[in-house]
Subunit: 195 residues, 2 copies
DNA sequence: GCTCCTTTGTTGCCTAAACAACAAATTTTG
DNA sequence: CAAAATTTGTTGTTTAGGCAACAAAGGAGC
């Protein structure tokens, strides 16, 4: 985890941002399936070949879009360094809800297929994040690493599942209440590993 | 006046736009004198050397900014093809007023020095525009070209002078009235050439 | 089935932009 | 005023992006 400053060419940064922004803009009026690489390149004012120099295809692009977006909300919810399982799990649930709200506010043309791409990326990031958190969580120091890895996998899916359930149950319950109801379940599986 | 489509590299277009936009943005918080080429390049996310590849210095940049801006309002006021001297002069006066309002609304940090740069560019454009208009104005067909050129020079300065006078007299008079009062004077010098 | 048309990736050549380093001019500051 | 620090232009070299043109893979329509 060194200060890995790789000195990336400013043109590369700008081009990536142009492409990302172009997709966001297009998703306001088209579904992800409708959008072509050609349209993205045009909207980004770059050449189509340049697109392929940055992303292998539009799926790789949307993956990065999701990761960038979710990272933002995740970091934001981690500002207060939640050091107990309860507060950490609360933060994760809020971050997912934040991100979902942004997605379906900003770009209302996101669709089923899009959602499943998002789900994969988010679960992947959650697993990585939880893994790191667990490794730094004192009380589990003596638990074998493999056990912590399995726990991280399980929790990432569980956390996502719970929020998804709330989202697709028409969000009739207040989000804060729902989170308070969910957290104990998640914390329980961490506590279980201590014993 | 052929359809002179010169096929300009998309990167060039984008870079010029980035630089122009960067200056506009900086002029919201700094005076023109305060702004350095370095800051412009940074705000535009381009290299300083690239700036110099497009503009010889920041004065050349602001010239283009003014020309682009004024051209917009001039074209807009010419939409109705004013074919009489009266309507043409009205359109010119309005265009200058439009542009001035934009400048001092958008970028309130514009200053004396900036204004004089603007004045030069606008008078230059006015002269060119009036020259062309006069050349296509039937009733002056038999007037020697040199006479029309001198008239164009005089009118460009006159038109600008009148609007400037209104602007610096605290704009106490209604603009429309002021324009109606001014137009006959300008038209008069055109009519004088016919006789 | 077949054609026509669009989209997808890929490639080689060319150009605009990045970078770093420079001298000269200008501004700041002690 | 003189030293230090910015800012200004310029230049040679390196690199990212633009531009065909291409084969291949879907569709859409007949």
């Amino acid at each position: 985890m060194l200060g890995n400053v790789v000195k990336v060419d400013p043109r590369t940064k700008r081009t990536r941002k142009l492409i990302l922004d172009a997709l966001i803009q297009l998703l306001r009026t088209h579904t992800f399936e409708e959008v072509t690489v050609n349209e993205i390149a045009e909207a980004a004012t770059i050449n189509r070949a340049t697109f392929y120099a940055h992303f292998s295809d539009k799926y790789a692009l949307v993956d990065e879009l999701i990761r960038d977006g979710f990272m933002l909300y995740l970091d934001r919810r981690m500002q207060h360094y939640p050091d107990t399982p309860t507060r950490y799990m609360q933060a994760l649930l809020w971050a997912i809800a934040d991100h979902w709200a942004m997605i379906h506010g900003q770009c209302n043309q996101y669709h089923r297929f899009f959602d499943s791409l998002a789900e994969n990326q988010i679960k992947r990031m959650l697993e990585q994040h939880i893994q790191t958190w667990l490794d730094h969580y004192g009380p589990l120091r003596n638990v074998p690493a493999m056990q912590r890895q399995l726990l991280a996998t399980m929790l990432s899916w569980s956390v996502y599942a719970l929020v998804a359930r709330w989202l697709y149950s028409d969000r009739c319950q207040n989000l804060e209440h729902f989170i308070n109801d969910s957290v104990p379940l998640l914390v329980g599986s961490i506590e279980a590993l201590k014993g």
